[in-house]
Symmetry: C2
Subunit: 423 residues, 2 copies
Amino acid sequence: MSLESMSLESMSLESMSWETMYATRADRMRASEIRELLKLLDQPDIISFAGGIPDPQLFPDEAFRTGFQDALSDGRAGDSLQYSVSEGYPPLRQWIMRQMAAIGVPCAIDNVLITSGSQQALDYLGKLFLSPSDTALVSWPTYLGALQAFNAYEPRYDRLNPAAMNVIPAVYADGAAQAGGRVKFAYLTPDFANPTGETLDLRSRELALALGDELDIALIEDAAYQALRYDGSDEPSLLSLDIARTGDIDRTRTIYCGSFSKTLAPGLRVGWVCAAQPVIRKLVLMKQAADLHSASINQVVIHHVAEHGFEAQILKIRAAYRARRDLMLAALQLHLPAGVTWTRPEGGMFIWLTLPEGVDGAQLLRQATATARVAFVPGRAFHADGSGANTLRLSFSLADETSIALGIERLGRLIADTGAMRG
Amino acid sequence: MSLESMSLESMSLESMSWETMYATRADRMRASEIRELLKLLDQPDIISFAGGIPDPQLFPDEAFRTGFQDALSDGRAGDSLQYSVSEGYPPLRQWIMRQMAAIGVPCAIDNVLITSGSQQALDYLGKLFLSPSDTALVSWPTYLGALQAFNAYEPRYDRLNPAAMNVIPAVYADGAAQAGGRVKFAYLTPDFANPTGETLDLRSRELALALGDELDIALIEDAAYQALRYDGSDEPSLLSLDIARTGDIDRTRTIYCGSFSKTLAPGLRVGWVCAAQPVIRKLVLMKQAADLHSASINQVVIHHVAEHGFEAQILKIRAAYRARRDLMLAALQLHLPAGVTWTRPEGGMFIWLTLPEGVDGAQLLRQATATARVAFVPGRAFHADGSGANTLRLSFSLADETSIALGIERLGRLIADTGAMRG
C-alpha cells in the first residue's frame, strides 16, 4: 500500500509498544535503587547518610559570583554564551595540565579533554571500549554510577581485586573469551573509593598496572575523591606510576578521570579526562557527536574559581569533612553492636559497613526509614553480581555534628534490634 | 604467570595499540569535515558563511547577567551549584510545557526532559533505538550532527523523502530486514532544516506521520530552528499533528527535540525532549547513567531569561536574521551565474546551493579560501550516502550587511570562473 492511498482516519489509535522498538542495550537501563530511595528521603525528620553529595554550605559562592560576573562582562559575554570547541576551554585545560603535573603527571594540553562531570567520562569510556559481551573488570563493590554508565554498552563484568596477590590474568582473559568478547579495561577508584572509602596501597597500584600490561587493557582511574585526603600521605596516582615507567603520557594505558564536583561544586558539571593523545582525540570526536561541548560559561567560571583559591577551598573542605568523618567513626564505635565492621577511610565521603551474614541492608533501610528515621544506601546495588546484601554505605559529607551523633545512635539501635529479632 | 612473579621492569614500553582495543562503533567516529574546515577559517580577511551559529551580538546579555546574579543570590546559590535531578529543573520544564501547549502540544511535566542541547537528545535517541544494523530514515541531505550522533550506534541509513508522494513503506522495511535489522525511526527537521533551509508543507507532515504508522516507528522531530520564522505562516509541528489525531501525547510516536541554542544562547547547552512518558522515563534513566543531569545553574538561568522576555528576544532575532536572509538572497540573485540554483528559506539560518553537475563543493572551498577569501560548507558531508558533491551550504546568521554583499559577490565570481575553467 502506498501512503497516497492511506488516510489519517485509518491510523492506529493504540498506544505505542515502545519496549519492542528499543535497542537491546535499553534492557539494561533500569531505575537505580539509590535514586528511588533518595526520593523517599526528602522528609525533614529523617537523618540521611544516603546521598554522596558535597555540603552546599562549603561551596565557594563568592568566587562563583565574581566568576560569572567576569564571564559576562562586556567583551567576554559573547564568547561565554557562544558555542565553543569540543576539547574544552583552553585556559581551563592549561590549569588542569599544571594540576596534573603537580601530582606527577606531566602532560600537554592535548592530553586533556573537558567533560560534563566525570560521570560523562565514564559513559564515553564505556562507549569507546565496550562492544556487547566484552568484559569490564570492576571491584565488588564499585561505584554504582560506573556500572550504570557501562551497562548501556552491554558488557560482562569480572571481579577485580587488585589488593589480592593471587590474580591470574589468564583467568580473566579466558572468561572474557568464553563470553564472546575481550577484557577491555579495568575500572578503579584508587583513592577513597565510592562506596567503601578504601584506598589502594602502592603495591596494589603496581599490581593493577601489571595486570593492565599482561592483559593489554586500559586502566580507568576514577580520581573523583583524590583531593579529599584527611590523613596519611598521598599515594601516587595510577597515571603517574604509569608515566614513571613508560616515560611519556602518550605511552601509558591509564585514563585518568578528574572532577570539580567534589572540590568546587557539582552543579556546573565540569570534569576532565587526562590520557594519551590517541584516546583524547577519539573522545573529542565522540563528544562532538554526543553534545558538541560542555557548557562554555561553566568552563570559564570553573577556571576563574580554580585560579582564585583552589588550594584554600581544598583546605576548607578537608577540615570540615575530616571532622565529620572523625565524628562518625567515633559514633560507630560507640553505638554499633558487635558483629558489625566498617572501613576507616583516610579521605573521601564514605564509610562502608558490613553487617552480620543474613542481615539484609535493603530490608534494614525500610525499617530504618519507617521507624528509626535514619537513611543510608544498601550495599547490593554496588555489586555487579548482586551480592553484598549485608553491606551498606554511609556518607558523612552532608550531615552536621548533631545529626551524625543522633543518626548513628539510631542506626546502632536498629541494627541491635534487628540482630535480636533474628536471634 | 601470576602477577606476583612479574616485575615492573618487564613491562612493555611500546606505545599502546589503541585502535585494536576500541569497540566496533569507534570505527564510525571520524573527524567532521565541518570541524576541520572551521579551524582553517579563523582568518580575519575570510568572509565566512560556514558556521551555522547565532550572532553573539544578539544574545540577551543583560538578562543572563541578572539571571546568574539571581541564581547565585543568598538562599539560592546552594541549589544552583548542587547536584539536581536528571529530569531537569521543574520550573524550566513547566515553562516548556506552556510553550509546547502554545504550539498545539498539551502535555504534562513528565513529558519533558531537559538535555544538554538538542544534540544530546539526538545522541540519546540513537542510543535508545538503534542496535547495530538497524535502519534510520533521514533525508538526503540532513543535519550532519544527527548523522554523527547516530553513527555511534552503527545504523544503516535509508533515504527519507516525505515531500515525494510515491513512498512505499514496504521498501524501507524490506531493505532494513535485508540489512539485518529494523527501521527504528525517521529523523526530520520540518522547519527551516539544516542544511537546506526548507520547510515541509502540511501534506508532507501528514505523509511522514502515515509512514510512521505504517512502519510502526518513532518520528524524531528536530525543532531547533522552529521559532525562527521570517515570513509565511507556521506549519503545525509533527507532534501537534500526532496529538490532534491520537488525542494524547502519551499515545504519540513523535519525539520532539527543542533547543534554546538558537533563541537565547548555545553556550549554556540547554535543550529539551517532549514526548510520550514511556520514552521520557527511559531517557531519564539514560541521562542519569550518562551525565547525571544537565548543569543545574544553567537550567535555573535559562528559565529566568525565558521568563523575562523570551518573546521580545524572538522578535529581535527574527528581525535581524530576516534582513540578512533578504540581503543574501538579493546578492545571490545579483551575483550567481546561470546554472546555480538555491533555496529560499522562510526561516532558520541556511541557504542551500546546487552547483552544476561536476562542480565539486569541497574543491571549490579550497579555491575559495585560497583566492576568493570566502567560506561555506561543502554539501557532501550532509549526505549519508556520500552524494551531493555539487552542493554547498551558506549561513546568513553571523555575517553583517557588508560582508554578505561582498562575500556573495566573491562567491559568484569564483563559481563563474570555475565554470569557465571547466568549460
